[in-house]
Amino acid sequence: MTMRFYKEELKWTPSDPSVKRALGDDPVPAPGHSAASVPENYKEVHGWGADLDPANRPMVPRELPSDVTTVRGNVGARQVPTEKVHVSIEHPDLTPVFGNSCPPHGLSGMLRDYAFQFGEASNRHWMTLILADRVDMVEHLFGDALRGKPDNYIKEKGWPAYLKYNPGRNRRWLTLGALALGAVAVGVAVNQWRGRDD
């Protein structure tokens, strides 16, 4: 059979005709397509069909029968809030337990107060929260610096990992970058030295 390539596959070098085909003869597998590890008979895959019977599958049926008809159920004890907790206006009341790992504060807190006046279908709710997140970041940037805990961008971004975990490629780029910076520095210095002579 004559090989027939499709346009999107011709974006790259056509695969070698000797490469095992994934799906018979047509179409020719793309260069990035491999089926080398899959057995010819899929039923030979270890564990195949163990959950073929829906009775073996958890969450079948998706919902179990229940007598509970209220949204909260039989709540019992409730956690007592000690700081401001934002509650969606779509909730009937504060949930019986809640996390509050970072209570609202400052200008970002005021923005969050505003956002929680709107329901979850409102863009004003979500977009204001995203804005509050960015304001929160700036507040902490200055606040922590004033408290003597300034941000260490290099460490916090984990950049040393580039050297530890992909040293060859990244050291090459760092070396090239250092050489380029050095060349620029030498050029500037020579230029200034010549200017002083003139």
């Binding site: 397509h33 590890s37 195949w48 959950d51 073929l52 958890p58 790992s101 979850e120 970041m137 990992a161």
Partner: protein, 384 residues
């Protein structure tokens, strides 16, 4: 205690924070012995989740030792080694009572659309996460489970989220014998979804991603056919051609809002913030599945809107299945699979970091350095 803290997009550090305390009779305090960085933590790390406050501690995959329990907790005691499902759930609300513990209504005051999740922003309840030395676990009579004999710590850690979530995706696909399954994303969830698709009786499993090392891993682990979509001008056209122009019976989006592969989606999502991230994987899933087929959304998306081809969903008569995994319901069957060797969760762990080096862990994971598939974080106190 020492805890990872979020400092803004792409920045985290380890700080001293107050240890959590019992605040409700049904609380437990867990001393973390292992935590994992999840692919969905990367959505947080990139600052894509609304109401993600500076100082939050991430981590919804963790195991540990019970340190203290509240007065109403009667099925756990100090010293028990437990795994903690990522869902914060009560067990008795309208949804939990129906087995939907991933949709608990009693643990997240900030939103009704999503249940509580440990360390996953205030939009998911404002709970402290497991990438720290201690975590407060509410409703401890229902959520955490004592790690059973025959289940290793590493397997238990992966059973808190990644493994059940991939398994849940395959179940939501309603896969019938011999059906074809196309999975977008070869991260941990995609890997477990591919492995699980065979357990459901699939006849063909194809995984697509743009990272060769991950495709190489899933091709051996699942096993699965793999396609690097970056080699293709139009991946959807290719998927149609390799499925005899019918399309796949089931397509699983195991990527979520942080996808690669479309400049337009990236620009509108990450640049303009006009949508919640990049939804190209969902777009391709809808277009690659056959008419009448099933699309599963298991990759994480935030609450605001995304660009998705609703017209194609309608015209093709697709069934969309999506939900946070209700881990509690999957665990009994998954214990059987792990013991029988049908799924080996811990085999996807590639890296281990001290909690003190967590910033590097995030960088390695998010920048796909050193062949990273699943990083585990160990607090120094646990390692000692």
């Amino acid at each position: 205690m020492r805890a990872m803290t979020y400092r803004g997009p792409f920045r985290v550090r380890v700080e001293d924070k107050p240890e959590p305390e019992i605040q409700h009779p049904n609380d437990a305090i867990i001393r973390v012995t292992r935590a994992a960085i999840c692919g969905s933590d990367i959505h947080l790390y990139h600052g894509l989740m609304p109401d993600l406050r500076i100082g939050e501690t991430f981590g919804h995959e963790f195991i540990g030792i019970v340190e203290e329990v509240g007065s109403a907790v009667d099925n756990l005691k100090a010293g028990d080694k437990v795994l903690v499902p990522f869902n914060v759930c009560c067990g008795f609300c309208y949804f939990c009572s129906r087995g939907l513990s991933g949709n608990c209504h009693n643990t997240n005051p900030s939103a009704t659309a999503v249940g509580g999740i440990y360390g996953y922003s205030h939009t998911c309840g404002g709970w402290g996460g497991g990438q720290s030395e201690y975590v407060r676990v509410p409703y401890a009579n229902f959520g955490p489970e004592i790690i059973q004999e025959g289940i290793s710590d590493d397997d238990a850690l992966l059973l808190t989220d990644a493994c059940p979530t991939g398994y849940h995706a395959a179940i939501m696909g309603d896969i019938k014998e011999g059906q074809t399954v196309l999975i977008f994303g070869a991260g941990p969830i995609g890997i477990f979804a591919a492995r699980s698709a065979w357990l459901m009786g699939a006849g063909r499993v194809v995984v697509t991603d743009h990272l060769d090392y991950r495709l190489d891993f899933v091709s051996r682990y699942a096993p699965a056919e793999t396609v690097n979509f970056s080699h293709l001008k139009d991946p959807v056209v290719y998927f149609k051609k390799i499925s005899e122009h019918i399309g796949f019976d089931v397509a699983i989006d195991a990527v979520g809002c942080d996808a690669s592969g479309s400049a337009m989606q990236a620009f509108t999502g990450f640049g303009l913030k006009a949508q919640a991230g990049n939804a190209v994987a969902l777009h391709w899933a809808v277009n690659s599945v056959r008419k009448g087929g099933t699309v599963v959304i298991i990759g994480a998306y935030g609450p605001p809107m995304n660009l998705a081809p609703v017209g194609s969903i309608f015209n093709k008569g697709l069934t969309i299945h999506a939900n946070q995994c209700a881990v509690k319901r999957h665990l009994p069957r998954l214990y059987e699979h792990v013991r029988a060797g049908r799924i080996k969760p811990s085999e996807i762990i590639t890296h281990r970091f001290s909690l003190e080096d967590i910033a590097e862990g995030y960088r390695v994971f998010t920048s796909k350095l050193d062949g990273c598939i699943k990083p585990v974080v160990i607090p120094d106190r646990a390692a000692a």
